[in-house]
Amino acid sequence: MNPNQAPRTRIRLRYSKAGRIRFTSHRDVARIWERSLRRTGLPVAQTEGFSPRAKLHFGLALATGYESEAEYLDVDFKCADVAVPDVLDALVSVLPDGIAATGGSVLLPGAMSLQQAVTICDWDIELIDVTADDLAEWVDRVRGAATIVITRERKGQQITDDLAPQIRALEVGESTSRGVRLLATLGTQPRAARPSELLTVFEPQYRPVLIQRTRQWIEQDGARLEPLMVGAAPAQHTPVGVQ
């Protein structure tokens, strides 16, 4: 049988990344997933050609050093009857410390890719060398600004962006043993705004010790949906672990 015509299942998985493994890169995590899935022995579909690779489709890259409660990837399997609970079970013993698969759903054919579909992310940023009051003042200034121009370098060119429309929410969170938390919701389209960029606005003197992505959202008709719920096949394929 031509493998291209074989029945397929695309499963969307949600996973967390925390602890020392947070210092691995997006590329490293992709390789970790490839090896881990191979160890499960599950029938993951492969690309054609001289260097076959597992068909994995990753969502938004997470910067090296950040933690996350909500990373996603879509995995193609080369048969029709792969069940989400089985995949999640098989992954428990093969994923390294710090990475855990926390949910999944079977996608309908033609579901939009993660990179296109996700529109906003929630962030939890732990800052040190700052008091809650100072941080609140800074938050007010940022929220009050009509435009926030940031410059970044791309292929040797200086590019300017307006960050203001990308800052969808910003507030001071609880104090921690080391500092204060800042909670932010940042847009991802057409280009994902980064917490590190937010923290350059008005050049504050404090620095982050831990940045965590807590949620990713797909906005549809004014509603916020968890990526496991969008494009998921209903009925017999109940999503597992929806947040």
Binding site: R35, R39, G65, D97, V209
Partner: protein
């Protein structure tokens, strides 16, 4: 105990922070205890280079299996990390549990290349103890070193407390026992543990020897005590089957070199290539039983999730029944596992093997003819018939490969420009062969400057000067330039010179290494950090002559800095082989022909363990048996030039 909370704050500031986190599959987080000797096994280069080192991983497992030892690992921090660590007052640390180096009893280095010597000093300094052994206090960390470079330990003799020669599997437990006694006695006398270590066979404690010079010449290196051996013999594991390690190869979270399952199929090589130190010092050949190889491959793939396995050795095609093992390996992963065979001899690369290997994935293909002309290959005893090379290249192109790499050395004894230019000729012919199969065949010539190494027949040879190597490189580059499909890469001849200083240097070279390190000269094997002038200036400042150490031909009666070390090889065997080289006489592989009594087996009452009584079929097989009807090119008459007049014609 762990310095992770501090490290965590520093890691966002450095490049590739995953180098410092550990967490590999197979990692051990051992429980330290006063009754256990704590080893910090260090590789003095970056994590990416050091992590795959099999020697280090084997000792890591063996020590952690013992109940009187624990072992963790450390790698040289990159320059940005070093700066952060020094600024934050953080010492060298283990990646396993992020303990300070000072919490261990032994800091033991694997030394695989001379250019990392300054990194070794840097790691000792970062560990927080004096770099000079004589300045260490009784209870300070013990500094040990093993690996191929320790066959000439003298350049590091002032910094390392003890060196280990040869295979580490057995001796490491004996060393552990000696250190355990010292630890139990409260680490009161450093002298006592050094004396105990010197009594372990295979261990060299340089501070227990007196060195006598006469002007530039070395006169003797002799033990200061009667119970310290005059000659330290290497250790050899008689049977590799008894040591199926690593059992749990470390699977890193970030990308490293050789990022695949590596299974050692045999140790040692008796092909007798005269430039090759690894072949000479690891004799005799000890094959792993094919069945054990298959088990290690199957288990390793299942637990690691790798889809590539390398069957490693110094010449894997010589492994008895290699085709069957490759075939069984490919079947392991249901056609999704690729096999790479590093150090593949061209005469064994047949269409059959080529077809096997590319079943799953076509990995890079590298052949190492080492020299361009048949005459030159006779001198270095790499007896590959040109037709075998062409046969291998043809097989590869016919099986769909479009590019390959060919390794050569320049600066070999008796080399003339005819030999150098013959490299270009070979490469052109390979590209021509490819044209029949593909539109754009590509052959990359990788050219290295030859550095003579201890315990080889070429240990007496005066290395080519930087300008002579550079001239030969450019000669070949200009010759190749016009040919489409042939690319050339080369090794910096200045780096070869520095390697030459350390490779055959004596104890006085230690001052040069220390000075280069003090001036910030770490990561010298990285071209962006290599600083040639620092080395030559340091040599000058200490009144040491580069010409004397590197370019001078040694004489038969000269005392060599490693004469008190034994790799089993008789010095007169090596000298005879050196004379044979100059006479262009090849020597057959003793694996399948009678013994020459080089000493590697006879001296230790061991022998080859080889499953097949005959050489692998096909080709000249490097056995010295030139196929009948083959007319080697007429030998060019060359005489070895004297000191200072290396032909620049």
């Amino acid at each position: 105990m762990s310095i992770w909370p501090e490290l965590e704050l520093v890691l966002p500031e450095v490049s590739k922070p995953a180098r410092y986190i550990g967490g590999e599959g197979g990692m051990v987080e051992p429980e330290h205890h006063p009754s256990k000797v704590a080893w910090l096994l260090a590789y003095p280069d970056t994590y990416e280079i050091g992590l795959p080192n099999q020697g280090l991983q084997i000792l890591y497992e063996i020590l952690n299996e013992r109940d009187d030892a624990v072992a963790e690992r450390a790698y040289a921090p990159w320059v940005d990390m070093e700066a952060e660590m020094r600024a934050a007052g953080l010492p060298l640390f283990s990646v396993d549990t992020h303990r300070r180096a000072g919490d261990f009893d032994v800091l033991a280095f694997n030394l695989s290349a001379e250019l990392v010597y300054t990194n070794l000093l840097n790691c000792i300094d970062l560990a927080g103890i004096p770099v000079r052994a004589e300045q260490r206090a009784d209870g300070d960390l013990l500094i040990g070193a093993g690996g191929h470079c320790t066959y000439n330990p003298e350049p590091l003799a002032d910094f390392v407390d003890f060196f280990v020669l040869g295979d580490g599997e057995e001796v490491v437990s004996e060393i552990n026992a000696a250190i355990s006694d010292w630890k139990r006695a409260g680490k009161r006398s450093r002298q006592s543990v050094l004396r105990a270590l010197a009594a372990v066979e295979g261990v060299y404690v340089p501070s227990l020897y007196d060195v006598v010079y006469d002007g530039p010449a070395l006169v003797s290196i002799t033990p200061r005590f009667a119970d310290v051996p005059a000659v330290v013999e290497k250790r050899t594991v008689a049977d590799l089957a008894a040591w199926p390690y690593p059992k749990r190869q470390l699977v890193p979270l970030t990308e490293v070199v050789h990022d695949r399952l590596n299974v050692e199929v045999f140790r040692g090589c008796t092909r007798g290539c005269r430039f090759c130190q690894a072949g000479m010092i690891t004799r005799p050949v000890r094959e792993r039983p094919a069945e054990q190889v298959r088990t290690m491959v199957a288990d390793g793939l299942a637990r690691s999730g790798y889809d590539e396995v390398a069957l490693t050795s110094l010449s894997t095609a010589d492994f008895s029944g290699i085709t069957e093992v490759v075939s069984a390996t490919m079947d392991c992963g249901a056609g999704e596992v690729s096999v790479s065979l590093p150090s593949l001899r061209v005469d064994a690369f047949t269409v059959g093997l080529a077809a096997q290997i590319q079943r799953a994935r076509r990995t890079g293909l590298t052949f190492a003819p080492e020299a361009g002309s048949w005459r030159m290959r006779q001198v270095i005893n790499k007896l590959i018939d040109e037709r075998d090379l062409y046969g291998a290249v043809e097989s590869a192109f016919s099986q769909g490969w479009r590019r390959m790499k060919l390794y050569f050395l320049t600066g070999l004894p008796t080399e003339t420009d005819v030999d150098t230019l013959a490299i270009g000729e070979l490469a052109r012919n390979c590209v021509e062969l490819g044209r029949a199969h593909t539109k754009n065949p590509s052959v990359t010539v990788s050219l290295g400057g030859f550095v003579p190494k201890p315990f080889t027949p070429f240990q007496w040879f005066g290395q080519n000067t930087v300008s002579e190597l550079q001239r030969k490189i450019f000669l070949l580059r200009d010759d190749i330039k016009r040919n489409r499909g042939v690319q050339m890469k080369w090794h910096d001849p200045k780096a070869s010179l520095v390697e030459g200083i350390a490779s055959r240097g004596d104890r006085r070279i230690g001052r040069v290494i220390e000075e280069v390190w003090r001036q910030g000269g770490t990561f010298q094997e990285w071209s962006e950090h290599f600083d040639y002038d620092r080395w030559t200036q340091a040599m000058d400042r200490h009144g040491l002559s580069v010409d004397w150490y590197v370019h001078r031909h040694r004489t038969e009666d000269e005392v060599l800095p490693w004469d008190h070390i034994s790799a089993g090889l008789h010095k007169d065997f090596l000298w005879q082989d050196w004379r044979d080289a100059l006479n262009e006489v090849g020597l057959e592989d003793c694996r399948w022909t009678p013994c020459y009594d080089c000493g590697a087996c006879t001296g230790y009452s061991i022998e080859h363990i080889v499953a097949s009584a005959v050489p692998p079929a096909g080709g000249s097989q490097g056995t010295g048996q030139v196929p009948t009807g083959y007319q080697p090119p007429r030998a060019v008459e060359v005489q070895l030039s004297g000191v200072g007049e290396r032909a620049s014609s």
